[in-house]
């Protein structure tokens, strides 16, 4: 680091107090701090109830559904209704707590009938200067609008095709670290940058996974995102995100030549109108998300696109309705989706009833035009979600 940069960094971190002390006072304070630090380092008395009084927020969120399709099951998400009949989409255990004045912890562990899935578990800093914040652990990558969210904050009972095709059946997540920066602008502008190990199987399907320790930094995938929010009026807000991901491309099992790079770029918009004078808490939300993926495979480059747009109307505290249209392109000889050779489109309608703030029943109808089938598949989903405990606030 250049000396000027070091000087700048040191100056920005130094408390203002230091500039007001004489050298004698500084020496006395330094000696007192050293003495206190030594005392504080002494082992604390043993306690059988160390957690007494510590606030640990936790919740259980159960998602269970029934589904019927008139053809092949069309859902691609790891926690989507699995086919005709009943599905335990997941029992999510969400916990979170402040650790000390520097960190907090959050974890989401999902139980299914077959497995226990460690979806997320990360520590977040709370006291870094200059608008910075860091996360470390296993977490959903901040790519786009849908990927970093869990099913209970979705407006539909299944995962968007854009997420399952371009990122993975459980989206994009991995073990790694993230740095984010709240820009000192008059409006909300947040930049994220992370490096993560691609998770095998569930996620990051377009990136090469590594068994065991990584060889070098290029085995990680990087995600960047810039998110901005514009308060157009007190009732109307627009959130706009730009995302990009890059890493080593996944290649077909039978291929031995090394692959190049996978790059995914995307943009998402969220427009929300919530009139403050609506006693029925009415709100209208329009979400649109687009992704473009480019993979350099041995001897060829594959490119594809996916997008969705959805409209959700909150009619009252008890009722909500929505519509979604999705589209995704395909390629000939794509090792990830060999049958997906042309465009796929899906249209969905949903109506949701909330008996209370902690339970909901959602009916969803869909029409899916699959590239590998001549007829459109029709389906119906009925999804129940119940929440017990103190679940944290949702993002905008």
């Amino acid at each position: 680091m250049k000396p000027t940069l070091l000087l700048l960094a040191a100056a920005s971190l130094a408390p203002s107090l230091a500039f007001a002390q004489t050298s004698d006072e500084e020496a006395a304070l330094a000696a007192a701090l050293a003495a206190d630090t030594a005392e504080a380092a002494a082992p604390a008395p043993a306690s059988n109830d160390a957690s007494a009084g510590v606030k640990l927020d936790q919740a259980f969120i159960l998602d269970v559904s029934a589904a019927a399709f008139d053809g092949e099951r069309t859902e691609g998400g790891g926690h989507d209704p699995a086919g005709n009949g009943f599905t335990l989409q997941g029992l999510e255990w969400a916990v979170g707590s402040n650790i000390d004045s520097f960190f907090r912890i959050d974890a989401n562990i999902v139980f299914t009938l077959e497995a226990i899935e460690f979806e997320e578990g990360y520590a977040t800093t709370t006291a870094l200067p200059l608008g910075l914040q860091a996360r470390a652990g296993q977490f959903l990558s901040r790519f786009g609008r849908a990927n970093p969210t869990h099913p209970h904050s979705w407006s539909f009972a299944d995962t968007p095709i854009a997420v399952t095709k371009m990122l993975g059946e459980d989206g994009s997540r991995g073990l790694g670290a993230e740095l984010s920066w709240l820009a000192p602008t008059p409006w909300y502008a947040m930049a994220y940058l992370s490096w993560q190990t691609p998770s095998d199987g569930c996620c990051n399907r377009a990136f090469a996974t590594v068994d065991g320790p990584i060889n070098d930094a290029s085995d990680l995938y990087a995600t960047g995102r810039l998110e901005q929010f514009f308060e157009l009026t007190s009732d109307l807000g627009l959130n706009w995100g730009l995302s990009a991901q890059t890493g080593n491309a996944a290649r077909a099992d039978e291929e031995t030549a090394s692959a190049g790079t996978t790059t995914i770029v995307g943009s998402d918009l969220y427009l929300r109108f919530k009139p403050s004078d609506s006693t029925l808490r009415r709100a209208t939300a329009l979400t649109a998300e687009f992704m473009h993926r480019r993979r350099a495979l041995p001897g060829r480059t594959l490119e594809d696109d996916a997008a969705y747009a959805q409209f959700v109307q909150v009619l009252s505290p008890a009722w909500e309705a929505g519509a979604r249209y999705e589209w995704a392109t395909g390629n000939e000889s794509d090792p990830l989706d060999p049958d997906w050779t042309s465009d796929r489109t899906r249209a969905s309608l949903q109506a949701t009833y909330y008996p209370s703030h902690f339970s909901r029943l959602r009916l969803q109808l869909l029409a899916d035009k699959l590239p590998w089938q001549t007829d459109t598949t029709l389906g119906g989903l009925l999804a129940l979600e119940v929440i017990a405990g103190a679940h944290g606030a949702h993002a905008y």
Binding site: L8, P15, F229, D277, R281, A393
Partner: protein
């Protein structure tokens, strides 16, 4: 890098001098109005919510992250009233001054007398019950007086230079509120006891009833946060008809179809309660209380 650029960069990064006004951000407009009166010219105050929004269900707008990131002091209601939107905003603001337990975080509920503190475990089958007690104490001037005094102490700790100003303004405000509160209590006490029963919509008006000596034998919501159902509304109507003075109190952000019908069928007066101080219109907190108590007294005195 030129020397002049280096000096400029250093100046930009240095902490601001302590003479700047304390930046206070309050979650609710009534808390903002109290803070503005206590802070005077020594503080700038912003409210995160407008007055006509139900604070249980506010949006966690990202613009509020920016507001919080620049705050020296966050004044919150507490008792989990803001739990659905505030914690994520504070975390994203990455403002260490606002950490729980820090001087920059003021939880007003810690300095007031709490009502309806549940005994034993809380069960959601009881409705949206707050485990620490009913959080709607800002309808009681006695609670607000306690908040003003405690807030002055906190502001003085953050900005000792202006401590005397904070303390004197808070003392004046508390005295005015307590005097107004006593006068209103006496005015309502002068009514016949049977006239001091009202129907409320949500269990959010118990502090108001406690202050004014009113009783609320039944609420339109069967349980806190649970929408009224036909069987319960029929029970409410029957109860309403037994009251000598038929008055329904409802905060402005709740739906009025049911209560309007109840008022029509029961020949009752429906009074809309201001959800919060019109802070954005420059109103004082005591104006908010006057706007609430005057129509109730008039309706019960007829």
């Amino acid at each position: 890098m030129k020397l002049s650029h280096l000096v400029l960069a250093l100046l930009l990064l240095l902490p601001l001098p302590a003479s700047a006004a304390v930046k206070v951000v309050a979650t609710l407009p009534s808390l903002a109005a109290i803070a503005r009166e206590v802070g005077g010219a020594d503080a700038t105050v912003e409210s995160m919510l407008p007055p006509n929004i139900d604070p249980h269900f506010a949006d966690a707008k990202p613009s509020l992250v920016v507001t919080l990131s620049r705050a020296d002091l966050l004044v919150e209601n507490g008792l989990e009233l803001e739990i659905g939107w505030l914690p994520a905003l504070v975390l994203q603001s990455r403002n260490a001054k606002l950490a729980q337990g820090a001087n920059g975080r003021f939880d007003a509920s810690t300095v007031v007398r709490r009502l309806e503190v549940p005994r034993g475990a809380v069960d959601r089958a009881q409705g949206d019950v707050h485990p620490g007690g009913n959080p709607h104490f800002l309808y009681d001037p006695r609670a607000a007086a306690a908040v003003a005094r405690a807030l002055a102490t906190r502001l003085a700790a953050i900005d000792p230079t202006h401590a005397a100003g904070y303390q004197s303004r808070a003392a004046a405000m508390a005295t005015e509120l307590e005097s107004f509160g006593r006068a209103q209590t006496a005015a309502f006490a002068a009514l016949p006891a049977a006239n001091r029963a009202v129907v409320t919509y949500h269990r959010s008006l118990i502090y108001l009833c406690d202050w004014l000596g009113l009783t609320s034998p039944i609420s339109v919501e069967p349980r806190p946060g649970v929408a009224p159902n036909p069987a319960h509304v029929a029970k409410v109507l029957a109860q309403l008809k037994t009251l000598p003075k038929r008055v329904i109190l409802q905060e402005e952000f709740y739906p009025t179809s049911t209560t309007s019908t109840l008022a029509r069928l029961g020949s009752a007066t429906l009074i809309s309660i201001e959800g919060g101080t019109r802070f954005d219109k420059g109103k004082r907190y005591i104006d908010h209380l006057r706007a609430i108590s005057a129509p109730i007294l008039a309706a019960l005195s007829r």
